[in-house]
């Protein structure tokens, strides 16, 4: 019997995820048990940040794997955007020193798949960071009948022209940032309402920097 690679991957990732959780728990036990100097404490916190980042990535990989499945259906629920995004804000500040500003009402809530939006925003921020951005601003536009847009602006160099015009920008092997953009596109496409799908739009800001817009149907 041939091995179904997806089943195998999924099982391995689940195991990884559980191991990561155990590691995180052990770290916090350790923190409680030891009387650490401030330097040691800071090292342990770093360890914890990286572990927790790894753990998040494993969860993300699991979701990506699921998205590839034919029968995949997103889990569209009412969520609070600031709750969805604050772990990303924290992670980018702690691991990469990037400041992400959430520039919208703390109580803003909408219907979306939290995991998918997390993947989309995380990848957009990662692209920005890798391109050299040091600050990111996230804001929203509320349109009529529950439609809305999420903008991720950075202070980096902006997208190269071929990126903006490249029609294969969103394929897995499109351009340099292909996989990231491909995942964002996939995550948005899964959002569907009354026959309309979610979209991604790329543009450069007037002076400098890039803007990724996630359009929710």
């Amino acid at each position: 019997m041939a091995i179904d690679i997806n089943v195998l991957l999924s099982a391995q990732l689940h195991d990884l995820k559980n191991q990561m959780q155990a590691l995180l728990n052990a770290q916090s036990e350790l923190e409680d048990a030891l009387n650490l100097t401030p330097e040691q404490q800071s090292l342990l916190e770093k360890l914890h940040d990286h572990s927790s980042h790894l753990s998040q990535r494993v969860v993300e990989l699991l979701s990506v794997l699921k998205m590839q499945n034919q029968s995949f259906k997103p889990n569209i629920e009412e969520c609070w955007l600031s709750d969805t995004l604050s772990p990303i804000v924290q992670e980018f500040f702690e691991l990469h020193g990037v400041n992400i500003t959430l520039d919208f009402d703390e109580d803003f809530n909408q219907f979306y798949d939290e995991q998918l939006v997390n993947i989309a925003v995380h990848n957009a921020c990662m692209n920005a960071f890798q391109a050299g951005a040091t600050a990111i601003r996230i804001h929203i536009n509320e349109l009529e009948k529950g439609r809305w847009q999420l903008h991720i602006e950075d202070n980096g160099p902006g997208f190269p022209d071929e990126h903006l015009n490249h029609e294969n920008a969103f394929t897995p092997n499109g351009t340099q940032n292909g996989l990231g953009l491909y995942l964002i596109e996939q995550a948005m496409h899964a959002h569907k309402r009354n026959q309309a799908h979610g979209e991604v739009r790329l543009q450069n800001l007037e002076h400098s920097g890039a803007q990724v817009t996630l359009i929710f149907p």
Binding site: K17, S55, V59, S63, D83, F108, Q115
Partner: protein, 544 residues
Amino acid sequence: MAKIEAMLAGKRILAIDDLVESRSAMKKMLIILGATDVDIAMDGDEATEFILNKDYDIVISDYNLGRGRDGQQILEEARFIRRLKATSTFVMLTGENAMDMVMGAIEYEPDDYVTKPFTIDIMRQRMTRILTTKEQLRPINEAIDRQAHGEVMQLCDEYIKHKPRLKIRVQRIKGRTLMTLKRNEEALALYEEILSEREINWALLGKATCLYHLGKFNESKKLLQYTIKEHPKYVQCYDLLAKIYLKGKDFKSAQNTLLRGTHVSPKQVLRQMELGRIAFANQDLEVAETAFRQSVRLARHSCYRNAKNYLFFAKSLQHKISTTNNRDSRSGSGDALKALDEVKTLYSDTPEYLLEANLIESTTYTNLGKEADAKVAAEKAEKLLSEISNPKSAQQLAMANVFLATNQHAKAQDLLGVISKRKDLSATEAKELERTKNEISEMVVRQYTTDINDKAIAFFERGQLSQAIELLDQATSYKEAGLAVLLNAIQVKITYMDQREASRKMLDEVNDLLQRVGDIPSTDERFQRWELLKKSQERLLRSL
């Protein structure tokens, strides 16, 4: 938003997780966040115990709790028995993604889900959000707890108008309240309004439920089929769809629909029970057996525990039991007798259940070929039936069948006579009565009357005429009583009157018996005795 520490301090909190590390980690996390009163439970049984004995403000449960009931069942039961108020908060912890969660009934959904793994920061943020929202909805939830539906409606309308961020949650409460008030037309309009903006699973089910209550079964069915296609984990849809099939008397489709529902969510007791009942009626005993086995196991320590579950389970096992002593038969009879023992222990003060348990036990032994044991159980059942003041026809019919199975045909016939006189038989029961009557063997009844006759002769020979008369009256009450029995009955009565005095009543009885004997040809060896008895009767008549 308010500080989480202030929101958790003094609140009665129950945390449920099957893994010991997760349990203690969660308790620790809650205490760091400001909780002061945290109980922890390891499974559904322990959680139920806690919930029954203490009013909790917040329950946080892992969805997956290993082999026993899951978090969803704990929530449903707690709300079902009204041990968890609308103002209290239930948070479900789920695996890597909530999309794998089985959605429960509209009225039994948790306030929110938190996806694992989570850090203390995520927990702080989530709990703050959940409790803040819950606090904002408090006036509505307090009105729900007071069952002040009018007030709920009024508050819902105010919230929808003035608090747009809470609109969808409040619309959901309003829809539910409208359905409680049986204002289905209005509820339908509300769900349609919600659906025109966004296809939300609970609004789809809400609309289908309204259509069902309004008698629009076909429309409801189509919508449910669509919803199941789009949201295969929304298990409540299977239940309603099955109900619609039942209305249309399509029992097979009802069974198949519920079967699909139990594949999605195997741990829901009420659904397993319903599936078992329908499968049993469809005579699909394999399915019935599995469903009842699950119900018995899942309900054993829950508020859904029910004698009928055990009894049906034992009944659904009978198809496996035979005299061959193979593995199926051994395990089937073992399980059946164990379930019946549980009924006898748990429901020892309910004669109806004890009666049914003994009847099924007797059938189990009959199927095993253990006649003596079958008879012992039948006798216990007979005694229990005699103690029930107004037995139901179904109980009497079941008893009659057990009499037949244990070769007590005469008793069966007596009981069937009683049942025949009842005016409250359903069409099915009347059919069952006829079927049972046809199974009575004349030969067996005649044998029975002959047995009584032998005992009567013994009394007669010892001169105990009253006892002899009593027994022979019993024997001759069967139409199958033979000629010898009839002649003996006449003989005893005449001897009795000869020794004491003739009575009109007894002479009439003798006359009836002679009528039943009819003419005996002179070639018959009993002719002379018959002639003699007739003459004695005439002599006694004259002496009156």
